[in-house]
C-alpha cells in the first residue's frame, strides 16, 4: 500500500504533463476534457494505481468511459447519460477544471488530502417522500460517484431562514469575464458567491421551484444573469442568459417567445444550475359523487360550479389540509393553503380556465401593445357595509399606497415594481409597464384582491404596518360583501375555517362562464380542516368526512381501486430538484467548490437514475425533468422529444 503512495502521484504527474503538451487547442472545450481524461485514466491503469479493478469492467470501464458526447439538449440520468461510467467521466472533466487535486481513489472520490469526499443533503423533516428521495440520492451518489452523502432532516422554515437566504449585502463579482454588480440584493440573492447564508450546506431537496409553464419569461427571476431576484445557490450562467432573455422580452407573439426559449432551455439543460430530477403530479382523491374536478393545471377554476350528486344547492364541501394558516389577511398572506382559504370568501381579479385562457372575475384586462393595459372593473361588485361599491379607485389606491409604498411589506409588492397605475374612469384604470409583456396576466403579477380604500386609509396615513397586519376586518374577511362564493363564519386557528353560502355572489349575474355559475355555489356550507396526520386525512377521505384530500404516490393504486374515492392526477408547475450550493459556504468536503463547475453538476445529474427514482419513490406517477419546463407546457422544446 505504501509503495502506491509514491508511484501513483509520480505517474499522474508524468501523464498530466504529457497531456498538457498534447492538448489540441482547436477542439471544442468538451472534447478537450474528454481526451485528457482518457489518457490519464489509461496511464494510471497501467501503473496499477487505480485501486480495485473488480469485475464488471473496472479496467475496461476506465478506458471506455471517456466516450461521452453531450448533445445540445442533454438528458442526464437516463440511458447513456446515466451510470458510474458517465458520471465519473464527467466528474473527471470537472477535476481538470478545478485548481484543486480531486480524484478517484478506487471507487471513492477523494479530496486533495486523500479523504473521501463527504457532503450532506437536506430534506424536509417529516415528509416521507422527501426523505426517501434524499436516501435514494445518497445511495446513487455513493455507488456511482464514490461520494459519501449524509442525509439530514430539517424543518422548512428553519432551512429557509438559516440556510437558504442570507442578509442582503450586494457587491461585485466577475462573471464570464464581465463585471456584475448586485444593485438590488435580496435575501434570496444577497450578493455574489462570497455572500452567504448563516449556515453552511451542500445540497438540498427541501424546496422545489415553480417553472411558470404559462409564462416562462417569469423564469428570468431565476436565470437572468448572476444577479436576478432569486438565486440562493449562487449560480453564474456560463451562457449569455441576459442576452437571450432580452430577446425573449422583445417577442411580440407566442410563437416568437417559443423560439427564443428553446435556446434558453437547452442551455439550462446543459448547465444544470439546479440538478433537475422530476415533475410529480398532485394526486388528489375526491368524493366520487363530486362533479367538477378535472385533471388539468387549472383544476378548480370553476369551483362555484362544482356540485355533489345533483346540480342543486345542498350539503357541505369539506376539505382537509396539512398546514395551518398563518394569516388570512389578503394583503400579507404568502401561503398557498391560506390563499385557498381566502379564495373561498374573496375572489381575485381573474383566473385561467381549463384551456389556460384568461377568464375575468373582477376585471377584464386588455391591451394593444403589451405595454399599456386597460382594466375594466365590473360594476356589480359591492363590499359589505359601510364600504359601498367597488370602484377603480379602490384598486388604484391599493396599488399606489400599499403595494408600491416603501413602508408596507405586502405580499404583492414585487409585482408592481416599475408599473405606473392611473385611474381613467369610475370603473376603469390603466397600468403602464416598463417594457412590453404580452403575457403579463400569466405572470400573476396583476392579480389583485379588492380591498376597500376606507378600511386601509387610516393605516396608510399612520404608516402603521402592525395595525394593518392585525386589523380584525382584514383578518376575518368581514368586508367581502358579494365578492366571494362563501362567507367566512369562523376561523379557529387550531382547526380550520368554516363558511356559509353567499346568496349575493356577484358571479351569478355575469355573462361569461359555464351555465352553472348562475346558480353557484352549489353547497350550503364549506369548511377546511387542518389535520396534521396524513393517516387521519386519508381516513377522513375514506369515511366521507372529507370530500377531497391529497394522496401519497404509494397509495395511488389502492385508492384507484377503491370505489369510495375517485383519484385524479393534477399537473403542477413545481419541480423536484437538487439545489447545490455554489456559494462560498457550499462544498464542505474540501478546498474549492466543485459545485461551481458545470461538468461536476452534470456528473451529479448523470449519477442519479431518474427512472429508478420515479419507479421507486413515486410509483411511476411522475415524469423525468430535463429542462426548466414540464412536458405538457406549450413551451417545452418539442423538437427534441
Amino acid at each position: 500500500m505504501s509503495l502506491k503512495f509514491f508511484i501513483c502521484p509520480l505517474v499522474l504527474l508524468v501523464v498530466l504533463w504529457r497531456n498538457i503538451e498534447d492538448r489540441d487547442d482547436s477542439r471544442h472545450v468538451g472534447r478537450r476534457q474528454w481526451l485528457s481524461a482518457l489518457g490519464l485514466a489509461g496511464a494510471v491503469t497501467l501503473a496499477g494505481c487505480s485501486g480495485n479493478d473488480d469485475g464488471g469492467g473496472g479496467g475496461s470501464d476506465n478506458s471506455g468511459s471517456g466516450e461521452i458526447e453531450l448533445p445540445d439538449f442533454p438528458r442526464f440520468g437516463v440511458d447513456d447519460l446515466y451510470g458510474p461510467d458517465a458520471a465519473r467521466t464527467l466528474a473527471r472533466r470537472a477535476f481538470e477544471q478545478s485548481e484543486y487535486d480531486y480524484s478517484f481513489d478506487g471507487d471513492a472520490m477523494v479530496t486533495p488530502e486523500s479523504d473521501q469526499v463527504e457532503i450532506d443533503i437536506y430534506h424536509s423533516a417529516g415528509q416521507e417522500t422527501s426523505q426517501l428521495t434524499a436516501d435514494f440520492i445518497a445511495q446513487e451518489l455513493g455507488q456511482n460517484l464514490g461520494i459519501n452523502v449524509t442525509v439530514e432532516a430539517i424543518d422548512g422554515t428553519r432551512f429557509n431562514n438559516e440556510y437558504w437566504t442570507g442578509e442582503p449585502q450586494g457587491g461585485t463579482d466577475t462573471v464570464n469575464g464581465e463585471e456584475v454588480t448586485w444593485e438590488n440584493p435580496t435575501p434570496q440573492n444577497p450578493g455574489p458567491r462570497s455572500v452567504t447564508s448563516n449556515e453552511a450546506w451542500d445540497m438540498s431537496i427541501v424546496f422545489g421551484l415553480n417553472t411558470y409553464p404559462l409564462n416562462p419569461l417569469t423564469n428570468e427571476a431565476f436565470f437572468d444573469g448572476a444577479n436576478p431576484f432569486y438565486n440562493p445557490v449562487g449560480y453564474y450562467p456560463q451562457f449569455d442568459a441576459q442576452g437571450l432573455f432580452e430577446e425573449a422580452r422583445q417577442a411580440t407573439s407566442v410563437e416568437e417567445l417559443r423560439e427564443s426559449f428553446v435556446e434558453i432551455f437547452e442551455n439550462l439543460a446543459y448547465e444544470q444550475p439546479y440538478i433537475t430530477l422530476l415533475f410529480s403530479d398532485d394526486i388528489i382523491g375526491y368524493n366520487p359523487e363530486l362533479e367538477g374536478p378535472i385533471e388539468n393545471f387549472s383544476n378548480g377554476w370553476d369551483f362555484p360550479a362544482w356540485y355533489e350528486g345533483e346540480p342543486n344547492v345542498s350539503g357541505s364541501y369539506d376539505t382537509v389540509t396539512s398546514a395551518r394558516f398563518t394569516t388570512l389577511n389578503p394583503l400579507f398572506n404568502t401561503e398557498d393553503g391560506a390563499g385557498d382559504a381566502i379564495a373561498r370568501a374573496l375572489d381575485q381579479g381573474y383566473t385561467f380556465d381549463e384551456n389556460q385562457d384568461y377568464f375575468p372575475l373582477l376585471y377584464n384586462m386588455s391591451t394593444e401593445d403589451g405595454e399599456v393595459w386597460t382594466f375594466d372593473v365590473r360594476e356589480s361588485l359591492q363590499f359589505s357595509e359601510p364600504y359601498g361599491q367597488v370602484t377603480a379607485e379602490d384598486f388604484v389606491y391599493l396599488v399606489r399606497e400599499l403595494h408600491q409604498a416603501d413602508w408596507a411589506p405586502t405580499a404583492a409588492s414585487s409585482s408592481w415594481d416599475g408599473v405606473t397605475v392611473e385611474q381613467t374612469g369610475e370603473f376603469q384604470f390603466e397600468a403602464t409597464l416598463e417594457s412590453s409583456n404580452i403575457l403579463w396576466p400569466k405572470t400573476y403579477d396583476p392579480l389583485l384582491y379588492p380591498i376597500p380604500r376606507d378600511l386601509v386609509e387610516p393605516y396608510v396615513e399612520e404608516e402603521d404596518v402592525e395595525g394593518l397586519q392585525q386589523d380584525e376586518e382584514l383578518l376575518e374577511l368581514q368586508f367581502t360583501g358579494n365578492l366571494g362564493a362563501y362567507e367566512l363564519t369562523a376561523w379557529n386557528r387550531g382547526s380550520g375555517t368554516e363558511y356559509v353560502r353567499n346568496d349575493e355572489y356577484y358571479l351569478r349575474d355575469i355573462d361569461e362562464g359555464p351555465d352553472l355559475f348562475s346558480e353557484g355555489p352549489l353547497f350550503e356550507e364549506a369548511s377546511i380542516s387542518v389535520v396534521g396526520e396524513q393517516a387521519s386525512r386519508l381516513g377522513a377521505l375514506e369515511t366521507g368526512e372529507a370530500d377531497s384530500a391529497a394522496i401519497p404516490p404509494e397509495q395511488y393504486e389502492s385508492y384507484d381501486q377503491d370505489d369510495s374515492v375517485t383519484v385524479r392526477q393534477v399537473p403542477t408547475p413545481y419541480n423536484t430538484i437538487i439545489s447545490v450550493n455554489q456559494r462560498a459556504n457550499g462544498w464542505n468536503a474540501g478546498p474549492g467548490n466543485l459545485f461551481q463547475l458545470v461538468p461536476f453538476r452534470q456528473a451529479l445529474a448523470a449519477a442519479i437514475s431518474k427512472q429508478d427514482l420515479i419507479d421507486g419513490v413515486y410509483r411511476g406517477l411522475a415524469s423525468p425533468h430535463f429542462t426548466w419546463q414540464p412536458r405538457w407546457s406549450e413551451f417545452y422544446p418539442e423538437t427534441d422529444e
Partner: protein
C-alpha cells in the same frame, strides 16, 4: 414556624422559581436569531429598499435595540401583567391563543384528571388488599399495560380500529360541537381513554406499594380486632396515610404527563389544544407564542409543586414545620 408563615414562605418561593425560569427562557430565546427581524429585511429587499435600515427599524419597533437589561425588565413586566404580545404565526394576541387552546385542552384533561385521581388509588388499594392473587396480577397487569404502551402508538392504533374500520368515532376533531353534548363525549372518549390508561398505572402502583406497608401495620390489626368493617378500615385508615406519599407522586406524575402526553394525543387526534399550540409555535419560530406557552407550563408546574408540598404537609400530621 406555623402553618400560615409556612404557606407564605412557599408561595414566595414559587414566585422566585417562576422568575428564574422566565429568565432562563428569555436568555435562551434572545440567544437565537429573531425571525421577525429577518422578515423585515426580506420585505424591504423585495421592494428595492435598503434591508439593513429595515432591519434596524424592525429592531427598533420591537425594542430589540435596547440593551439587554432594559429588554429583560420590559419582558418581565409584560409577563406579569399578562400582556403577552401578538402571535405572528396565528395572527392573534398570545393570551387569546393560549386561552382558546386551553379551552380545548381542558375538555379532555379535566375528565382525565378526575378519572385518574378517583380510579387510581381505588384500584391500588384493592390490589394491595389482594396481594399476589390473580386479582392483583390482573389489576397490575392492566395498569402496567396502560403505563407501558406509548400513548401515541396506542392512539393511532385505536383511531384506526374505531375510526376507520368500525367508524364508531369521527377521525377529525370537530370544534363546532357543544361542550356538554353526546357528540363531544364520543369524539373525546378515545383520547381520554388513552390518557387514563397511561396515567392510571403509575398512580395505581404507587398507591398499591404504599398501602401495602400499612396493610400489615399494627394499627390495622387493632382495627380488625376492634371489629371495624374492612371497608371503613381501608377507606379511612389506609387511604389517609397512603395519600401522603401518593399525593407527591400524583401531582408530579400528572404534571409530567400533562405536558408530554397531551401534546402527542393532540397531534394524533387533531385536537387544537395547548400542546399542539406550543409545538406549532416552535416550528413556526413564533417566539412570543413560544414564550407564552412555556411560561404557562412553567406556572402550572410551579403551582403544581407548591400544591404538592402543601398537600403533603396538610395530610401528614407527623411532619412539623420546624423541621423543614
Amino acid at each position: 414556624m406555623g402553618f400560615g408563615r409556612y404557606v407564605g414562605a412557599r408561595v414566595l418561593w414559587a414566585a422566585v422559581v417562576s422568575l428564574i425560569i422566565v429568565t432562563v427562557t428569555f436568555l435562551l430565546i434572545s440567544a437565537s436569531p429573531n425571525p421577525a427581524v429577518q422578515r423585515a429585511a426580506t420585505q424591504a429587499a423585495l421592494q428595492g429598499g435598503d434591508p439593513a435600515t429595515a432591519a434596524e427599524r424592525a429592531r427598533e419597533l420591537r425594542g430589540l435595540n435596547e440593551p439587554l437589561h432594559v429588554r429583560y425588565f420590559d419582558f418581565v413586566r409584560s409577563i406579569y401583567t399578562l400582556d403577552w404580545g401578538w402571535s405572528v404565526s396565528r395572527s392573534q394576541p398570545v393570551m387569546e391563543a393560549v386561552t382558546q387552546a386551553l379551552y380545548y385542552t381542558a375538555q379532555y384533561s379535566i375528565p382525565w384528571t378526575i378519572l385518574t385521581v378517583i380510579l387510581g388509588p381505588l384500584v391500588g388499594v384493592y390490589s394491595a388488599a389482594n396481594m399476589y392473587s390473580w386479582k392483583d396480577h390482573a389489576a397490575t397487569g392492566f395498569a402496567f399495560f396502560g403505563y407501558a404502551i406509548p400513548n401515541f402508538f396506542f392512539g393511532i392504533v385505536l383511531l384506526l380500529i374505531f375510526g376507520v374500520w368500525l367508524e364508531w368515532i369521527p377521525i377529525t376533531y370537530n370544534t363546532d360541537v357543544a361542550v356538554f353534548s353526546v357528540e363531544n363525549a364520543i369524539q373525546l372518549a378515545v383520547p381520554v381513554f388513552v390518557l387514563v390508561t397511561g396515567s392510571i398505572g403509575a398512580v395505581m402502583r404507587v398507591s398499591r406499594n404504599e398501602s401495602a406497608e400499612f396493610q400489615n401495620a399494627d394499627f390495622m390489626k387493632t382495627a380488625k380486632a376492634k371489629g371495624v368493617s374492612p371497608l371503613r378500615a381501608y377507606a379511612y385508615h389506609v387511604m389517609r396515610p397512603t395519600l401522603v406519599p401518593l399525593s407527591t407522586t400524583l401531582v408530579g406524575q400528572l404534571l409530567a404527563l400533562f405536558l408530554g402526553a397531551s401534546l402527542l394525543v393532540e397531534v394524533v387526534f387533531a385536537i387544537p389544544g395547548l400542546g399542539r399550540l406550543t409545538y406549532e409555535a416552535l416550528l413556526a419560530q413564533d417566539m412570543s407564542l413560544v414564550l407564552g406557552t412555556t411560561l404557562f407550563f412553567t406556572f402550572v408546574a410551579v403551582i403544581g409543586n407548591l400544591l404538592e408540598d402543601l398537600v403533603f404537609t396538610v395530610l401528614d400530621p407527623r411532619i412539623s414545620f420546624d423541621d423543614r
